[in-house]
């Protein structure tokens, strides 16, 4: 059996994608754990932004809120929402992490409603800063469980833009050129987006999963990379740091 759970694998895989000296906007939960892990392993110079104003904190523990005191603990600046969002809009922030109740083949995300907007079956919190990050950051990453209802053929509401209707539609809409969804990390696989169609494409399978598993848990047809990698298992050093110095109380990895 694996000596890690699937949440640990997702966090480690996400963490590995973050380059040293890059900049990132994160919220609470798994994305924050991935950023913290990266900072404590291969990316000590990763610069973390929180939308409410925290800049480059030395995170002591996982924040409960995107605006709590931990998000600017020993930071270089305690700023405000406009400054952070405008730093993203100017093009200084490389990565953001988002989630959502639904995602479609172009990486569009729904965190607003299931059903119609006028008479929703389920109301979710709404965009928060997600639309902003998805619009501005160069590379949007998504960590989400792989299931058919979530990976949907017809998204009920595009809260945050992915590649919209594919091709060059994102750039044509007026959103900044060269930005957009980059990787989707699920409990089964890692996907990117094919360059011209901008359709979601499997590029890596987690140990123990087959392409069929992923497709069976996806409501639309997935493209496949020419060569599909196996997602590296979490390194022992990653797991040790994740368990002892990132999430010792297992708030996040306890869910895996």
């Amino acid at each position: 059996m694996a000596d890690y759970n699937i949440m640990e694998l997702m966090i480690c895989a996400a963490s590995r994608l973050l380059e040293d000296r890059s900049t990132i906007s994160v919220g609470t939960g798994a994305p924050c754990a991935a950023a913290m892990l990266a900072q404590k392993t291969h990316a000590p110079n990763l610069v973390i932004f929180f939308e409410a104003g925290g800049v480059a904190p030395i995170l002591p523990l996982m924040p409960i809120s995107v605006g709590d005191s931990r998000t600017f603990y020993r930071g270089v600046m305690a700023s405000g929402m406009c400054d952070i969002m405008e730093t993203c809009q100017r093009g200084l922030v490389d990565y953001c992490f988002l989630g959502g109740a639904q995602i479609d083949r172009y990486g569009n995300l729904n965190s607003t409603v299931i059903g119609s907007h006028e008479h929703p079956k389920v109301r979710f919190p709404g965009s928060g800063g997600a639309n902003d990050f998805a619009s501005y950051c160069w590379r949007t990453m998504v960590i989400t469980p792989q299931d058919r209802r979530r990976f949907t053929d017809r998204i009920d509401f595009i809260t945050s833009p992915g590649y919209l209707s594919g091709g060059d539609s994102r750039e044509r809409s007026g959103l900044p050129a060269g930005s957009g969804p980059y990787r989707v990390i699920t409990n089964m696989a890692i996907m990117d987006f094919e360059e011209s169609s901008k359709r979601m494409r499997v590029i890596s399978l987690h140990p123990g999963y087959r392409l069929e598993d992923v497709q069976a848990n996806c409501g639309f047809e997935l493209l496949q990379a020419d060569r599909i990698e196996e997602t590296p298992r979490p390194a022992p050093q990653q797991l040790q740091i994740l368990r002892t110095r990132v999430d010792p109380d297992r708030y996040i990895i306890g869910r895996g």
Binding site: G67, A78, M81, C82, G126, N131, T159, S160, P248
Partner: protein, 333 residues
């Protein structure tokens, strides 16, 4: 100005700088003491049907005493600016005080989960909504603070958040690119919790400012709750530290622990068990009624609420948690 696309969202507050100018012309800008109780501030400055905005972010540096008092005084049909609003929104929904809402983030309490009651309330059809993103609302506030009818950005476009917003897409006359314009929001009233204020309303705050510097300037009426009053002379000793000047302020209320059960940077951490208690009580409407009776309606003022929540002893625990940030558990040096 040719509009290429326009969101279908409603305007819930004034966006016209001319109307705001007429209001600000008659607003008293003189240096007079404005200290009063929370009860008096809400009586005088929050009216039924007002469009209201609450400072802070999530359950951090939020003027909770004002939200409680709005419930006690039974304000109804408020419009609400939902700019990552968590515990404050939860309280106002519990009081069924809102009938229209600019949404960026509501009903959630971030990592703590969703508010069952706020969700029911928002799914009941009793609240008209316009969608926004957090930055869109920041800009709508900033436009009002600047005294202009709109600001421009490059978000929202292509999304359904735009389709249900009050924003409009146009072609930039300088670059030829598509950009999106967001109409100003001048709230009728805003409440902001700060660390320190003098009796005139000059305010200092520490930590992240969120959108509060703009909100203070955008709001027609402004209620300040402060952890502490400060000698006016101290404000003049170092004007670089002033975040909100007195002439924007209508009421100054000294409310120690005023962001409780939320976090107040450098003062006290959030009371997570009490916030969980809220979420649990909300699961059942009957239980919620009893819970609200006990924590808000039968309470005379915020000090009594603090007493019922464990008083100074509990506050000291939360204070230690806040001041031990960085010293707890494992961490880097």
């Amino acid at each position: 100005m040719d509009v290429l696309e326009r969101g279908s969202g409603e305007f819930f507050a004034t966006h016209d700088p001319e109307e705001a100018r007429q209001f600000f012309l008659q607003k008293d800008k003189s240096l007079v003491a404005k200290v009063m109780t929370v009860k008096e501030a809400v009586e005088r400055f929050v009216q039924d049907s007002d469009y209201i905005a609450i400072g802070g972010f999530g359950a951090n540096r939020v003027p909770v005493a004002i939200c409680h008092e709005i419930l006690r005084q039974g304000r109804k049909n408020l419009g609400f600016l939902g700019h990552t609003s968590t515990h404050d929104f939860q309280i106002l929904c519990a009081g069924e005080a809102i009938d229209r809402c600019d949404i960026a983030y509501i009903i959630g309490l971030e990592a703590r989960g969703l508010s069952p009651n706020a969700r029911r309330y928002m799914e009941s059809g009793r609240v008209r909504v316009t969608e926004n993103s957090n930055y869109t609302l920041s800009m709508r506030i900033k436009a009002a603070a600047m005294g202009v009818p709109f600001l421009v950005s490059r978000n929202l476009m292509g999304s359904d958040t735009f389709a249900k917003s009050a924003s409009a897409v146009v072609t930039c006359p300088f670059t030829g690119h598509r950009v999106v314009l967001h109409p100003a929001i001048y709230p009728d009233v805003a409440a902001i919790h700060v660390h320190e204020a003098d009796v005139y309303g000059n305010c200092r705050l520490r930590g992240i400012t969120v959108s509060d510097l703009d909100l203070a300037r955008a709001a027609k009426r402004l209620i300040i709750t402060a952890e502490r009053l400060l000698p006016a002379e101290e404000i003049r000793r170092d004007p670089s530290l002033t975040a909100i000047p007195y002439y924007l302020v209508d009421a100054v209320c000294e409310v120690p622990y005023g962001s409780y059960p939320g976090c107040m940077p450098y003062e006290y951490f959030s009371d997570e068990p009490h916030l969980r208690e809220w979420l649990e009580a909300e699961e059942d409407p009957e239980r919620l009624r009893a819970f609200l009776e006990r924590t808000i309606y039968s309470v005379s003022d915020f000090s009594e609420y603090i007493e019922r929540q464990g008083g100074i002893a509990r506050m000291m625990e939360l204070r230690r948690m806040e001041l031990l940030i960085g010293q707890e558990g494992c961490q880097d040096g």
